[in-house]
């Protein structure tokens, strides 16, 4: 889509003009730019994995700033994730704090995949002890891959890891065990 522009963090950002222009919301402190909104959203941690922000997670589809309000469209990670409401409320509160009227819209389409987690986000996950998701391959993940040793331990970097459980403490994680450093760890599922 030609009208999409990229935020520095790699997230698509939609503007409505053909040429760049400053879009403003009616705020007490003056003009509010889309970049300011993205920066503010980048400060909101994921409620269940607070080492990563909502922008790093890639769930924010678009930010539109207009005269009367700031509209944010975002996609759930997993449909049953209880963090959805927490994320929505945190974004609304952060935008209100900028002096604008928030309109947060949940888009339950197929546009979010773990491939949308930014490179910075993946590094933050690894540093936080969560192995980042493997890239999604055509046809999606397979049991034989999960049971292989193609996953790297976030603590010692070894590939000598085994699947302990397809499921984990939240819908987005599996549990693996590193035979090298003898440490269980959480593996972000590829979806």
């Amino acid at each position: 889509m030609a009208e999409d522009s990229k935020h520095p963090t790699g997230q698509p950002r939609r503007t409505h003009g053909q040429s760049p222009r400053v879009l403003t919301a009616g705020t007490a402190s003056g003009a509010l730019s889309e970049a300011q909104v993205w920066d503010a959203l980048a400060e909101i941690p994921d409620p269940e994995i607070p080492v990563i922000s909502l922008v790093d997670l890639g769930v924010i589809r678009s930010v539109d700033v207009s005269k009367d309000h700031v509209r944010v469209k975002f996609t759930p990670t997993f449909l049953g994730c209880p963090a959805l409401e927490v994320m929505r409320d945190a974004m609304a509160a952060r935008i209100s704090a900028l002096g604008a009227d928030p309109q947060i819209e949940v888009v339950s389409d197929d546009s979010w995949s773990t491939d949308r987690i930014t490179p910075e986000g993946r590094e933050k996950l690894r540093a936080g002890g969560f192995a980042p998701p493997a890239p999604r391959e055509i046809g999606g993940p397979k049991l034989v891959q999960l049971q292989s040793n193609a996953f790297r331990c976030p603590y010692c970097g070894s590939n000598d890891t085994a699947l302990e459980n397809i499921f984990g403490p939240t819908p987005c994680r599996s549990v693996r065990y590193c035979r090298s450093c003898r440490q269980p760890f959480e593996q972000f599922k590829t979806i």
Partner: protein, 190 residues
């Protein structure tokens, strides 16, 4: 109600009821890993039910809460397969899991090809998550396929997926439990 909306509600009913049944293993599954697995699968299924009810509710001018919790027991379209209370029978639980995931995959694939872009998109999103349920079912199938009890359970349960017209008494008990909050607290929401 159009055929398509009825189909969406039917799938949502299956996912809601199965999610509820799967959650009955929380805390008492034979292995800690399975305690986690069935709880997580339950959470996903109930999430899918909610998203599907929301889609249907927009067409019907109602809400997901009303569809999920304000109907009478005989208005639910869920399969007899998901109605069964199978705790503490592990062989039958895994048999149901295998049968359900296979049948669910077929209808989700069909929805992914829907002309309705919103429905197709939601189906594709659901399918990303269901892939993990299928892997889990596949893993257990490989473990149990030669076990007599498991084979008998598959044979017993296989025909039940398409039975939707008459509910078993166990469903009435589940309905009491599922709708209790909604019936006792006015305006309680999902």
């Amino acid at each position: 109600m159009t055929d398509q909306v009825q189909k969406i509600v039917e799938i949502a009913d299956d996912e809601l009821v199965l999610g509820w049944r799967n959650s009955e293993w929380t805390g008492i599954a034979p292995l800690l890993e399975e305690d986690v697995a069935f709880s997580s699968i339950a959470q996903n299924e109930i999430g899918h039910a909610r998203a599907l009810y929301e889609l249907a509710a927009r067409e019907l001018g109602t809400t997901a809460d009303e569809l999920a919790f304000d109907r009478q027991p005989d208005e639910y379209r869920c399969s007899r397969l998901v109605q069964l209370r199978l705790v503490p029978d592990w062989a039958r639980t895994i048999a149901r899991h295998c049968i359900y995931e296979r049948a669910d995959q077929a209808r989700i694939e069909a929805l992914k090809r829907s002309d309705d872009a919103e429905l197709a998109g939601l189906a594709a999103k659901i399918d990303r998550e269901e892939a993990y349920h299928r892997m889990h079912a596949e893993m257990w199938f490989d473990r149990l396929e030669d076990e007599q009890r498991f084979k008998a359970a598959l044979e017993e349960l296989e025909p039940l997926f398409d039975v939707r017209d008459e509910h078993i008494p166990e469903f009435a008990e589940l309905w009491e439990e599922m709708t209790m909050v909604r019936r006792s607290v006015a305006g309680a929401t999902w």
